[in-house]
Amino acid sequence: MTDLVTPDSATGTAAPAPPRRPPAARPWITWFARRIGLAVLTLWLCSMLVFFATAALGDPVRAILGRDYGTSPERVAALEAQLHLDQPVISRYFAWLGGLLTGDLGNSVANGLPVGELVGGRIVNSAVLVIVAAIVMIPVAFGIAMLSAAHRGRRTDGVIQLVMITLAGLPEFVVGILLVALFSTTVLHVLPAVTIAGGGAPPWSAPGSMVLPVLTLVIAVAPYVARIVRASLLEVLDSDYVELARLKGVPERVVMRRHALLNAIVPGIQVIALQLAWLAGGIVIVEYLFSYPGIGASLVDSVRNSDFPVVQVLAMVIAAVYVGVNLVADVLSILFTPRARTAITS
């Protein structure tokens, strides 16, 4: 082969990108430390929001005692002492934050038991519910999205879109109650309407009772994920490099696999993260509806009883899940985006 152009002309228009070095650990550590730092900062601000929203906006003692507030001043005084209401709110906040960090979560106002004991098992139960829902939801949503994208603009796609929009609009309690009416009470009688694992046994020991809660969560979340994934698939399929791949003679199945999916992964990760965090909120209603022994049902009860210590801890748990999931999603997105990846090491 003949050299038609002198190679050195390339350096004349050299790209801003530096030559690729062996994977450098340091920039990654710095970057990761920054991300962790941001996550901790966010959580700290979250703790302020939680504390002041629960403890500083209303009158906790009045909320706890309800009608008894006016009639028994001695109970008011006792509660005020127990909650350290005589101290300024700032010092109460730091005392609470210190306890949170050292594992001393305080005691329930409603029954006096340590909060850690009350919520520990329930966190596990809720985690199981969310994870099972996610495991079912992700393949379903991606499958629907790919089916829809492959039939874009045709009848199949139109019907799927309409069903997805309809489902996406329904609040989760509407979905849940309709499912209960359909499968448990009114039409069929095949599945239990509430979680029936008694005697402290974990709810999954009666798998039948898990079906409806999981199904409700899946129906509440999958349409949204499917629509986002479909949109990003279509965007990639319309892009110039996919068009060029076709013009180069690449078979359509390889186009979808090598080119489209690879570039649609990142939006997929982002939307899954968003929805996992959203599931953490969805369980509040779903657990209450199905009397599932998780943190959601517990939260509703504690709010009703004005049980501050429990509400505060549960809110922090949910916020931590959100922050953690987002951190993981950010890291994964970076790993799957060459441009972002090389930006860190340069």
């Binding site: 190679p7 390339a10 790209a15 110039d240 003679g249 060459p338």
Partner: protein
Amino acid sequence: MTTTTEAGCVLSDLRVALTGSDVDVVDEISIELRPGEVVGLVGESGSGKTTAGTALLGYARHGAVIERGTLLFEGQDVLALPWERVREIRGRKIAYVPQDPGAALNPAIRIGRQIVELLELHGIGTPAERLDGARAGLREVGLPDDDEFLARYPHQLSGGQVQRVALAMAFLPRPKVLVLDEPTTGLDVTTQGMVLRTMAALCRSYRVAALYVTHDLAVVANIADRVAVMYAGRIIELGSRERMFSQPAHPYTRALLDAIPHLGHARALTGIPGSTPGPGRRPSGCRFHDRCEYVQDRCAQVDPPDVEVGPDHAAKCVRIGEIGHWDIDRGNVADTDPAKKRDIILTVEDLRVSYGRKEVVHGVGFDVGKAEVVALVGESGSGKTTISRCVGGLHAQWSGELTFEGRPLGKGSRARSVEDRKRIQYIFQNPYLSLNPRRTIAQIVARPMELFGIAKGKAARDRVVELLDAVALGPGVLELRTDRLSGGERQRVAIARALAAEPDLLVCDEITSALDVSVQGSIVALLEELRQTRGISMLFVTHDLALVRSIAARVQVLHAGAVVESGFVVEVLDSPQQEYTKRLIGNSPTVG
């Protein structure tokens, strides 16, 4: 003369239409591509040139379909082949280089891998040979072939490098036919020159039949052997390069040539009124008749056939032979005389601009005289737009001295007096972004008058009508929003808005670069008229040296944030002193 036995291809009577309608995107396209020859397919936006180009690969974009036509290639009709066979030919025998190579390379896959995959796909060689092939291909286009380069991602390459990777990928399977779709759009002239030379050399040494699709007549004048001019979905003239530029036969080709500036002499540019009609809005008969200066009644009725006007040269016009000869020099005018006395209104001294810690403009100084056009010319990254934004008050972080009529200018518009804000007006590059789509033309043009207390209510409205008339727009557009206007009309509105403030200095930032060349011609003519009748000075930012020759009296050649050379246009362009200026002039494609 269907010489299909030799490689190359013949496209005949192609028609591409919008799916499910009888609206054509292109129609009656016939063109022969011969081995070792580059055919330039030239057209303005909306002409259908890209559609015609990709049809050579048996491909139509989503929403369009190839309705009719044959493509004879190696003894068979590619357009009639089953889908699987077309795919085998694509890329391997008929290759394509896209418009925006950056967007066309998969961002998630390394360069080397993408090239090897291409060879794998066509089943060429063993794995070791493929890697060697990839390296050889990169060497051919003048790129490094080491492992480090192969492991880069597309975003780690410069625009010119990406374009050369795309070229290498197109040539690697040794195609017989190559379609290049404006592959140098967005590249600087030096890079563009390099890519064009590489492409032409590869085409000739491998005897590839190439179709070069572009809007740029000057590029075609430098690389093509034959030139086809498209208008509104049809090829209206086709001939050898020499004949097309010396004896164009079609009124559209002639008008197009009248609109382009030459590097060699100043010209009084003229535009073509109106704009190219898109699919579905094209007139009957000759599709150019509604904009043609030679139009007769029959032009609207008769679909003009191809008329042979010379050897290998045909045009679609019923009046050929009746409209006289054309001379490439007919628009030439004299350059501005360097001896002319100048009356300075703007002085820039030691202007420095930094983005963050990085200084991007290093102590630039120049001045602008009354009723004078000064051009700032340079490649991307030269700082020309940054300088113009400082003058226009859009950029506030700079140091140095800007003096306007003896008064120092503040940094940024909010630091300037009302008077200064009024008398210096800025016109933006892209008229699709510089006009608020939610306001009517009347509101847009009247606003500076209200703001500066020039006129109000009825008086303002009368002035708007006057100004629109001055920029050749009728009062019919007053109540329209910008989405109803073409690019050229929008830029006229932007100019009218600037004039509404009664400025003494217009800062024009590449204001014709987003427009078709025929529209650019009429905008340049308008600016020249405004300069003469209103005595307005202009700071004209551009990357196009040929345009500088036709519009400016003085020029500052910028490179990497510093003035390399400056002076009267005639001096700088005819006898450049600096190496950089010489290289820039040498790489600028030009007709004259």
